[in-house]
Structure formats: structure tokens, C-alpha cells
């Protein structure tokens, strides 16, 4: 009796070790491994368009995971994530261009630099809570954006800066087929690190701070430390994501890192599921693929009878935008807890099938 856990019915744990693995069941772990293997084969059969979408999901997914650690796990809303993402992008390019740091080192270093920035802008978290804190992060967004446009030495000012492709031992990862692997490796590593973090002491402390900070403090958790640290960790992820983005596009411009982008990040984690690591990835995929899907759909409509009947013509663009918004709304109306939640329910349903109650 002592070691029976009630979650994966039919899969009995015989030690605490097997009860604390990343994947709740052996099958789910095998599926995850299979997934990664399948992804490894992607460049062999996918065209660049699909690869580029996957790459985007990869680097955005890393940054989004950082945001989910901050928002979903620690309960501190940030509307300035894209600024940290941007900082990572510029930092990596700068480290490489200015100091000659090889790109494969510049990317993690950029993560570290961004962590520093995250900690600075996380300082208000020691005193502010909820939306007040959220708006302080909005301030971070604008202040950093302003800094990007101003700091010629760092960002190349409004002209932007080039970012060299990633090379290791003279082998350049400068095509999508090659860069795909870089992003895939980074993503797997970052997601594993994140999962580990959340199932150990500091990860639990973050969640405790979210759920009930007063009692967390009584349990010996230093609130200021963890609130600020959460910003640091989230910025680290954003920085890595941003750096990967920089060396993928090979050009970084101040224009991209706006509040709209920050809000998109929020969308990814909310749709994926706050406080869910795999959900983050699902949400990112959703937000990246949705406009593409709508684009494809509007392509189908354009020129058909519907098009002429409704006299849509150029207005198809607006219809498409509207449907992106509508899908987000409908999705949330029907699944307000995000994709991860739905996924869990589907799993629970099958586990108990046919006795769902």
C-alpha cells in the first residue's frame, strides 16, 4: 500500500526513485523519446517552410518556458518578456561581434547576461505583487526597448546588428536543415533542466510562493529571493531563446521586440496551460501554427465562389486576423485551463475507460 500512487493506475511504483521520474509512466517516456527521434529525422523529409516553423517553435518554446516559470509557476505576470528575448538576441550577437566569443559559447553567455538584466528588473518583485508587478514589467519592456534603440555600441542602434551563424569546428549551422538540430538539442536540454528544476527544492519553493506566499515564508522560504530569482530564471530562458533566434535569422533589429510580441508570449503559456511544462510547448506550437493555418485557409477561400459572393477580395486579410482572434477566444471559452489540462483529461479518460466516473 505504501507506494501506490493514485495517478497512473495500473502502473505500480516500487521505489521513491521511480515515483519521481520526469515521465509518470514508462509508456509516456518512451513516447517522448520516440518523439525526439522522429524530430531528429525531420530535416530528411520536411521542406524549409516546415522546418522554419519547427525552429520557431523551438526557440520561442524555450523563451516561453521561462515565462511559464515566472507566470505559471511563480504567479508573477510579466508583460515584458520579449524585451528579455531581445536582450538575449543582442547580447549573443554582441559577444560574438565585439569580443569574438564563438557563437556556441555566446548563446549560453547571452543567457547569463540576460539573467542579470532579469534580476535587475525583477527587483520590484520584492515589493510589488499581481498587476502592479505586471505593469512594472511593462515598464521594463519600454525601458529596454528604448535602450535597444539607443545603445549603438551594443545593438547597433536602430540599424540593428548582424549575428554570425553558429559554427562548430568549422561546420556552419547556417541552413535550416542544420540549425534545426541546434534548436532541437537546446530545446530538449532546456526543457529537461526546467523539469528538473520544478521537481526539486527551488522549483517547489517557487510554486509555494505562488500558491500562498504568507505560509511559504513561514515554511522558511525567502520570498524576496525566490520572487527575484524567478525573474532571473525566466530571463535566462528568454535570453537563450533570443540568442538562438539571433543566430538563426543572422540579423537582429530593434523593431521586433515589442509589447505585442510580449503579449504573444503570454498567449502561448496561457493557451498551453499555466504551470505546465509540456503545455508550454503545445501552446507555443499553437500560437506559431495558428496564423499559418489561417493563412492557408484564407488562400483556399480566395478566388472561390465564397470570395466573390461575399466580395472579400483584399478583406480576406482582415477575416484571417479576425479568425486568429476568434480561435483564441473560442479556445479559451472551451478550454480555459489550456491545452495541458485537456491533454490530462484525455489521458485520465482513457485510463479509466470505460468507467469514467
Amino acid at each position: 500500500m505504501a507506494n501506490v500512487s493514485i495517478i497512473p493506475s495500473g502502473d505500480f511504483k516500487t521505489s521513491y526513485g521511480t515515483d519521481t521520474t520526469i515521465f509518470p509512466t514508462v509508456t509516456s517516456r518512451n513516447f517522448a523519446i520516440l518523439g525526439v527521434v522522429l524530430l531528429l529525422a525531420c530535416p530528411a523529409f520536411m521542406d524549409r517552410y516546415w522546418l522554419s516553423l519547427l525552429i520557431q517553435i523551438g526557440y520561442l518554446g524555450i523563451a516561453a518556458l521561462g515565462l511559464n516559470i515566472l507566470v505559471g509557476f511563480t504567479g508573477q505576470i510579466s508583460i515584458g518578456h520579449s524585451a528579455f528575448f531581445g536582450f538575449g538576441a543582442f547580447a549573443s550577437a554582441w559577444l560574438n561581434n565585439r569580443w569574438g566569443v564563438p557563437v556556441f559559447l555566446a548563446i549560453p553567455l547571452a543567457g547569463v547576461l540576460t539573467t542579470g538584466v532579469g534580476l535587475i528588473f525583477g527587483m520590484p518583485a520584492a515589493r510589488l505583487k499581481g498587476l502592479y508587478l505586471a505593469i512594472a514589467t511593462l515598464a521594463a519592456q519600454y525601458i529596454l526597448q528604448d535602450f535597444f534603440a539607443r545603445a549603438d555600441w551594443f545593438t547597433g542602434g536602430t540599424n540593428g546588428t548582424i549575428a554570425e551563424p553558429l559554427t562548430i569546428f568549422g561546420f556552419a549551422f547556417d541552413t535550416d536543415e542544420r540549425y534545426f538540430y541546434v534548436v532541437l538539442v537546446a530545446m530538449v536540454v532546456m526543457y529537461i533542466l526546467g523539469t528538473n528544476l520544478m521537481r526539486t527544492r527551488d522549483g517547489r519553493a517557487l510554486v509555494a510562493v505562488r500558491d500562498h506566499y504568507l505560509s511559504a515564508e513561514i515554511m522558511g522560504i525567502n520570498l524576496t529571493k525566490y520572487r527575484t530569482m524567478s525573474f532571473g530564471i525566466s530571463a535566462f530562458y528568454a535570453g537563450i531563446g533570443g540568442a538562438l533566434y539571433a543566430h538563426y535569422l543572422q540579423f537582429v533589429s530593434v523593431e521586433g521586440f515589442t509589447i505585442v510580441f510580449s503579449i504573444q508570449f503570454l498567449g502561448m503559456i496561457i493557451i498551453g496551460g499555466l504551470g505546465s511544462i509540456m503545455g508550454t510547448l503545445m501552446g507555443t506550437a499553437f500560437m506559431v501554427l495558428l496564423p499559418e493555418l489561417m493563412q492557408a485557409a484564407s488562400k483556399l477561400v480566395s478566388g472561390t465562389a465564397i470570395d466573390t459572393a461575399l466580395n472579400l477580395k483584399d478583406n480576406i486579410a482582415f477575416l484571417r486576423e479576425m479568425s486568429v482572434g476568434l480561435v483564441i477566444i473560442l479556445f479559451l471559452v472551451f478550454e480555459p485551463d489550456g491545452l495541458a489540462h485537456r491533454w490530462k483529461q484525455i489521458k485520465a479518460y482513457w485510463k479509466l475507460y470505460p468507467f469514467s466516473h
Partner: protein, 270 residues
Amino acid sequence: MFEARGVNLRFGGVQALTDVSFGIRKGELFSIIGPNGAGKTSMVNCISGRYKPTDGKVFFKGADVTAMTPNHRAALGIGRTFQNLALFGHMTVLDNIMVGRHHLLKNNFLTGSLYWLTGARKEELAHRREVEEIIDFLEIQHVRKATAGTLSYGLRKRVELARAIALKPDLILLDEPMAGMNLEEKEDMARYIVDLNEEFGMTVVMIEHDMGVVMDISHRVMVLEFGKKIAEGMPEEVLANPRVRRAYLGEDDEDGEAPSAHTAQQKEVA
């Protein structure tokens, strides 16, 4: 073990505590009773560090801890439960209790992320084992993996106790641990508390309104009224105090009955 010297606590116009001094001996089971709003919870908050006394000092293990933050006091060995449930609602019961181990664990965000490489795994598992012992002790195995927020009131109270025990505190503060429980459950809870005190050797401070429990298990009792200490001593002594009986139990002085907890409860309702 613990000492309060002339503690005053004021919130704007409300004087929650007025010049309260008392001491708790090591290994004692010390109860605080008093009417609603007397300042019992406030006193416990001063011990755990949630409130800083406006005036006066508190000492723990001989050191002045008046200015110390709650999280440091936790590390020093003060644990507590709350009157209004304060669990981490979205965490599993297990994780809730593991949070209690926070100050005993050494791994951090770096070593924790590198789980297998840094011994974090080993450490986590070792503590998991101890936590499981607490779970067995409080008999909450069946809800180990349930989300704390969905449990019934009584179970949540028990999980809270488990979390506080996980801190391995020397001094454990229990704010109305038996509120909302039926007799049977109170009996269980009383048993746990006595075990904590006698077998685990923890010093216990308990706030409780059920006089039966207070009388039976506590070593010493302190009575607060309107923020002032009005009595302190052995349970029987305190209960014999007419002021206590009037203010707290609602008995008339002329009522010549022998002082007993149950009579208070059994009295006909007006």
C-alpha cells in the same frame, strides 16, 4: 525555550496585544485560550514572525529574534499551522509537505536542474523517505498525490500539520488544529499532538477552543482576553479562575458546579 517580554501589538486603532509576557519551557505542551478576538492568533504570529511586536521582545532558544524574518525563524526551528487554511492549493499533498523540508534541503536552482549530476536526486529521495514517514504517521497515504486544494477541510488540516512537522521544528505552533472536526477526528488529532510532544520531543504551542482537549492534553495554559494575559498556569488552576470562566466559558459565578470542561459544553442552550 521561548520567551515573550512585554509584547505589545497595535494595528492602527486596535490594540491586539497589551504587555504580554510569558515563557514556554522545552518539551512543554502549552495552550493559549481566550475569547474570539483576544489576540491569540496575533500572539502566535509574533512568535512565528508574521507580525513584529510594536513594543517588547521575543526570545527563542535564548536569542533575541524580535527582528528576525519568518523564514529565518523557520530555519531556527519554529514551525506552525494556520487558523484559516494556508496550504499550497495547487500542489500535491506530497509536494506541500516537501516544501516543509525547504530549509533542510541543500540543492538549489543550479544543482536541482542538473538533477542526476549533482546529487540533488539523492538528496530529494532521502527527504522523500522522511516525508513518507510523516505521511504514515498522520495516516494520509491515500491522498498523497491528490491536489491539496480539493481535499475536505479536515484532511487539509492534517496536511497542514504534516507540512509543519516536516520542518522538523523544535517549537511547533498549532492554531486551532481541531476546528471543524468531529469527536472521532479530534481524538485522532489529539493523539498526533501528544505523540509529537512526547515521542518526537517537540515543544507545542496550541490554540484551541475545545476545552476538553485543552484540559486533557496541555501541560500549561495561558488565557488572553482583550489582548491582555489574564491567567496562566496548570489547566485546572486556570479553569478554576472565575474570571476565565466568566469571560471565556460564559458561566455565571454563582453557578456552583465543579469546574469541568464538559459541563461547559453540556449546558442547556438558553
